[in-house]
Homo-oligomer: 353 residues x 5
């Protein structure tokens, strides 16, 4: 993916702030909303929401509710969520704009967190924007399309895992944690491919290799852009004094912060490694060129003088006394042999062969 | 545009501070002033001002007034504005000097904001300085020449958009927001061109390509210089305690701040990408040179020894027994063929062919 | 070691936080626990623990206890330690995950320190994670496998060294100090190898040299990643207000901090040196290529014209008057000699020979 | 100018602090002192001082006095100024040492400011140290030699400009402002020369061009060294709480600060541009080399096989049946033509011609 | 000197903290101690100490005492000093370890300052560690071996210079000042050598030049490492609130701070310059190679076709009508001349000759 693809809200230029305009690829499917509502006890409901208006009942209950929305291109749904949870117009605008960098915004009644869910398939990194809205009892997660990394969390909630006894802040933590954990897998696969490339570079360098190097570099620029700001987001969550996140859950956020640092570290290391690859390519090319030149030089340098001698005795002058001598031919051949051997000795001394 | 073109106040060296000297290109047209005056209700006037002195009536009214001045090269107009709104002499000097970097200056009765309005046509980036003066009820915007990106705002005011119910701070925000939104379009088009260039680099590298790379690099240096300081300006607006900007509008400025960060991010990514392009060019050239050398070497290395053999049997020695043998000629041809095949096998082993 | 090997918790993605999953190489041997318990007086016990449950008696005694655990892949042992010393689940999770970067975490009843024990054998750097848990009377150290750098400390404890009169904080300091001291040895040996490589570069540059340069660079990236965060850890220890570290011991931690800075300095210097090595390689290759080209040029440039002259007089035209002249042959030979000498003079003037 | 020329106080090593030793080039002329004394009214005196002792009368008067000293190599003059204005021995030492970097030092009774006055002639940048001492009523300016950029200020004072109604702090500001304004002119001329060089690079690259690039780089390093610290000086003046600078004048210093940032920005841009120039040179050289190689390869590759064929039929074997065929000669010529065409087609396919 | 030589305490790994082990080169001579004891009046004693125990009398007197110790490899002397002045064990350990970076440590009764005394002989920079211990009345200076830069200070003390009227803090300042002043001389000589090298690079580039560049780079890395931390030391001294340094002397330390910044500036400039030198070398090599290639190409391209023509008319076909024409030979010669001239014209057009 070419990095500037990351920003494209130009079609919105000139609209008033808070305008609900979807920016991003429009998936084929319609918007789908799923709700999981649970408490530490046995109360548990999971449903695929048909009528968005029923959300209000979960908003007001004491149990923890996770509302997951696949698809953010439907202005009506976004507006409905906005009015149900009293979301600021600028937040609603951001929800529909898939070109955000990770950020945290604190509002009196909710936290708004944007981050990027990444995956890598067939050597290409796909980036999807995930927005989280954390209120006292609810987490609303918004994805660009169906398909995510949250299934283990769904399983844990269904199986009455420890997560059931914590509140919405812990659910929010769990979602972020799962997204960050997925980064490790991407770096692992990218790192393996880079390692393979390095071997190729030394054995069979060619211009396609250069393009591969550049695409890895672009991937790393893109990862960096997607993950680096998350560091600040998490450290802001740690420092925040909002009552929406309990002290007990704060420690867990510190844990994700550590993971993010590890991911950034790994990205930087891979950047350092790919940085040197074009030089490696050039040095291999140079070395190979040198080898080629040496062979050319050796062959040419040996035969050019010999050919000259043969040329001299191919001249048609009437008076060339040597031509008549009986031993002249073997003597010239011996001379040629001698010259060749001398040259070879010189090359050996110069360490060219 | 060559970057040092950005600073050229040298003709002013030695003048006392506050001297009103226009620095920049002088447009052909005279200065024109337009005024829009509105409030949340039905009061709305839009006029093209002929007599500058009538401005005072808008200055004193309770409604919000936007005074837009196209052309800053007329000392009289600037001086008149200065005395009407009690502007500091140094501010007036800055208004007429088109080589400012974006900055915010707070004065007791007004905020002075300088930023750059950018556009890209035929691959060339044009930069125009826009100065904004925000007072309690007025926004004065000064541009170098007619033609700007503010038309959507004018339409929203005329159509009694939400903007009408906010004050001058929101108008000021809207103007900056529109300018920043235009940056996205420029980066988009620049990014597309850089992507195209990269393909050219690999298929048909030539010195003009190098010049294009350099012109992109210069464009990015220029964009960076024009946009980077805006970050500080906006974060200063966020932190400022001036009563000229209400808390409600402050949130909107945070939104532009986010956009600016996105723009800077994109510029940095494009810089990273163009940074590697000259290396890419060199590596493509190197690879092509290598290819050329290999062909030369193969041809020369095969034929030089054969030519030598032909030369030997072209010598005119009286006693060369081989010359008389019946099968000597086919034997020599066979020898030559054998040598060629051996060489080809060697090259294949070396992976040159 | 390829740097991304440093992070590999991807197999854990999706597990709930605090899940005890061993991440890292599993050593062959089972977990072994050794205990040293001592005070300033004559009380001293050293034993290899068979039954983990007996640890509780050391936990409660007033004497200082060092519990060293070789092997962190046994979930039962970790869980038992966790419950005996009331360790937070996230700490337990970190204990079993060998991909941590050095860090310090403060908990009310203990400090949790992670750092990396490094060694270099056969030119390869091995990195092992060491976790330290410092409580009021105990230090628990956890290593990935048997074999460490702590033997001198064991000897000093056995020989009733000064260390016996200090508490657990000093023991903790001593362990960290020993690990940091080992870094110097690694840098020394790495520095020697880099110095050797530089000589090779100038005398016999070849593609393997390039691979060696890259492996050194990777080693340095890895060292940097392992040691750089330690700086923050140690400066955090200095600034901490935990009662677990006495003021008297604080000075000693400042000493390790100084050592760490020295190590980082040395790593940076070696990075600076290896950074230039590929350029050095390329410049040597270039110079050699130049030499080769000069020889080729000289030989070819001298003989190509001579061979042409010989060719001319080898033509079979019926009317070539020179061919009949008596002195033509020696005259042509003299002409050839003259041309050669002229060329040589030209080359000498050009400083090619 | 080679950058290390900037520091040369080594001849002073070992002297006690406060020793008055002139460090720098000694100009031919003797020290000259001029005084301008003025107030907001009609009082104005300008004189060339013969007897230094008369300075004391200006020191004590209420009017503003500007004492300008051309030449700092006369120990007596410096010592006299020192005792008249109670200057600290270390300041006096600095006054005579022309290798200072720009700095601000606050003393209870005066501010000591060092900065560099730059000019560019015949492509060479000359740097002269200017020291300013600001007391309540006086500004003492010390230059290395006669000739400066202050003439416009002198004119404004003589013409009873606005400067006459401000105090010594405004005079001090004016002097610094004039020096900073001169930087723009230097950057302008340097930028023009760099732009010209870039064109030369692409049309006629040769080693002298490389030397020119390096001299520009050195100029920029030197400018940076001379101007960068000024930023801190000016921001320190803004923050200072000394009563020597009034709040009203403080705003003007902020203006110079802005200018300095603009200058530094421009220097950085030019550095970015010159940074890539050697690469541009190398790429042009590479491209030209490639062109040369292609011509060589095409000529050699076509003719070497043809010459071989000619050689074969130049052999003197007794039994070469082709030699007797009537059409052999035209057939061989046709074969040669065919081979040439084939080769040309191959080259065209490879895009070499 | 290879940079990693800077750290070598690996032989100490595992020893308890405070162990007195000498790390560094052992000089041949035994330790010598000299004492200078003076006050502002006439009291002055200078002696070479034979019995270390007599030091205690100077420690307790009111006069200022400078104890200079040449040689730090004698554990007994260090231990004796330690007990006389109540020095912390870690300080004693540092005194004997010559691999420290410059640092300042404050203890209640003394300041401990480490810095590096540098000299340059025969193009090699030698670095010696100097430790200073500043107590209320004493300065103890410890050097690795005899021979230092302090003689001017000794002379000033003997000659009853101003230094006699200040206390031990001023003596300490003077010692540091003298060491820093010596840095200027080293940079001057290094800068001259680098300037010379640059000329060599352009006229006669060869692999030894590359080695010289690298050794300069290493020298600069080493200088940077030795001097950079001094900046922090001096700024810490300025900020410190220890009663050991009087306010009056504080100003003098600010002066050394300025000098250190100048030295660091100069090092950075020289680094910038040497950074580009390898590129300069490569560009010169490239240019020379290009020249060589052009000559080869011109000669080969002209003569290869001519030789082919000669070869054609050297063929032995029975029926080659041209051979019998009377004017064929001069016509062929004319043809050859024509081809040569055409080629030369082409090369001239291409600007190769």
């Amino acid at each position: 993916m070419f990095p500037h693809r990351f920003i494209k809200p130009s079609r919105k230029a000139g609209l008033p702030p808070g305008s609900l305009v979807h920016i991003g690829e429009k998936p084929g499917e319609p918007v789908s909303i799923t709700v999981m509502d649970y408490d530490a006890g046995d109360s548990f409901r999971e449903l695929c929401l048909l009528d968005p208006d029923t959300i209000s009942q979960y908003r007001d209950s004491q149990s923890t509710t996770w509302i997951n929305i696949n698809g953010i291109h439907d202005t009506d749904v976004i507006r409905m969520i906005g009015s149900l949870f009293s979301i600021h117009p600028l937040t609603l605008e951001d929800l529909m704009n898939t070109t955000q960098r990770p950020k945290l915004e604190e509002f009196p009644s909710y936290l708004f967190i944007v981050l990027r869910m990444l995956s890598r398939q067939d050597g290409e990194i796909r980036s999807e924007q995930v927005s989280l809205i954390l209120t006292e009892n609810c987490v609303i997660s918004l994805q660009e399309r169906a398909g995510d990394v949250f299934d283990p969390i769904r399983t844990r909630i269904r199986n009455k895992g420890r997560i059931r006894s914590y509140g919405s802040d812990f659910l929010c933590y769990s979602l972020i944690d799962t997204i960050v954990d997925a980064y490790f897998g991407i770096l692992e696969s990218l790192g393996d491919d880079i390692e393979t490339l390095e071997t190729t570079l030394l054995t069979d360098p060619n211009p396609e290799t250069v393009q591969t190097i550049r695409s890895f570099k672009r991937d790393l620029i893109m990862l960096r852009k997607a993950i680096w700001p998350l560091r600040e987001v998490l450290s802001a969550i740690e420092r925040t004094e909002t009552p929406l996140i309990s002290a007990k859950t704060g420690i867990y956020f510190r844990d994700i912060y550590d993971h993010t640092i590890q991911v950034i570290d790994a990205i930087e290391s891979l950047r350092d490694i790919t940085a040197g690859m074009l030089d490696l390519y050039l040095s291999t090319i140079s070395f190979k060129m040198n080898e080629v030149m040496k062979v050319l030089t050796i062959i040419a340098t040996i035969f050019i003088p010999l050919t000259f001698i043969a040329g001299v005795y191919g001249m048609n002058f009437a008076y060339m006394p040597e031509l008549e001598w009986t031993l002249a031919y073997p003597a010239v051949l011996a001379l040629m042999l001698g010259i060749s051997l001398l040259m070879l000795a010189y090359f050996r001394k110069k360490r060219w062969i």
